[in-house]
Symmetry: C2
Subunit: 187 residues, 2 copies
């Protein structure tokens, strides 16, 4: 029988797309096999735990990507203003300028939040805290940094919801624009 895929890691992005589009419950094995091109045999070989393990692996991969590309740079020494601008640019790229939905946000709203609650909470809490750390380094008092960071993380999620609801990705761009102007305002 034909060998299809080399690495388990190769199919995580495909899996991510399926969960993003259909949510956890809606992502049926039929959808998954269709999108990944893998039969049940391969799927359950790579993920013996079934759908739950697939979703957990996808969450972990996303978490890792954000840790490396978004959170860590925010915490690192160096110009905090540049770090914030960088974060916005990477966020815009990741979410395809508002055309892509946030898997973690989708999971947060669904009943699956109970199953992956820790991963979901950690993703957002670390984003918020890393941003707050950058703002603190930039010179804001701790309370103000926390407040602005929470507002920014929340605005990104809201912008993704609204962009998709209105079918207008530009909403997302405008939200990031506002954050770029206001996050570091009043230093």
């Amino acid at each position: 029988m034909a060998r299809t895929v080399a690495e388990r890691a190769d199919i995580l992005p495909l899996l991510g797309e399926v969960f993003r589009e259909h949510g956890y419950e809606g992502a049926s094995l039929a959808h998954i096999t269709a999108r990944t091109g893998l039969g049940k045999g391969s799927l359950y070989h790579f993920f013996p735990g079934g759908k739950e393990e697939m979703a957990a692996a996808v969450l972990a991969e996303i978490d890792g990507w954000f840790e490396v590309n978004v959170y860590a740079p925010l915490r690192a020494d160096g110009d905090p203003a540049a770090a914030v601008r960088d974060m916005l640019a990477r966020t815009d790229a990741y979410f395809r300028s508002g055309r892509r939905v946030c898997l973690v946000g989708v999971f947060a709203l669904g009943e699956v939040r109970d199953r992956f609650g820790a991963a979901v909470a950690s993703y957002f809490a670390r984003w918020r805290d890393a941003l707050a750390a950058a703002l603190t380094r930039a010179g804001f008092p701790s309370a103000q940094a926390d407040d602005r960071a929470e507002e920014a993380v929340l605005a990104i999620q809201g912008a993704l919801v609204l962009a998709r609801a209105l079918d207008d990705p530009a909403v997302f761009g405008r939200a990031l624009e506002r954050l770029g102007q206001r996050l570091l305002d009043g230093l």
Copy 2:
């Protein structure tokens, strides 16, 4: 056989809860019969169109509630500042101070958006436009009013996502607080 319910309208709030908690796909007939206490017979008597008709009816009911209690007051003559404060109070009450999720937002993120796209888009567009109208009456230039209105609607949705993700309803209260302070700032 026992008569259970008098009005079709009486079960819409129950249906709304089920869709809110499980999403469209996740809201199985089993969940629905359990929550409403109605058997399939009654359900399909009230909603011959099945789940789709149930979801549409719930969306219409929510839409109507917001039209009367939120959008119309924003558009009406009278003190725009008071209207905005009123909107925030009603929003806080409706979403149970962040403990309740927005059904329309949930639908917007899911694949059901394609099915109910018009209703979903209209809900958010009318909210944004009604708020922009109030801000314009308050004296803001049109462009600024539009920008602030979009930001506010988006912040409300984002706050609901973040509140649920972090399992911390207080996030929602803080977001509304910020909106109250900033929406009318700089007149």
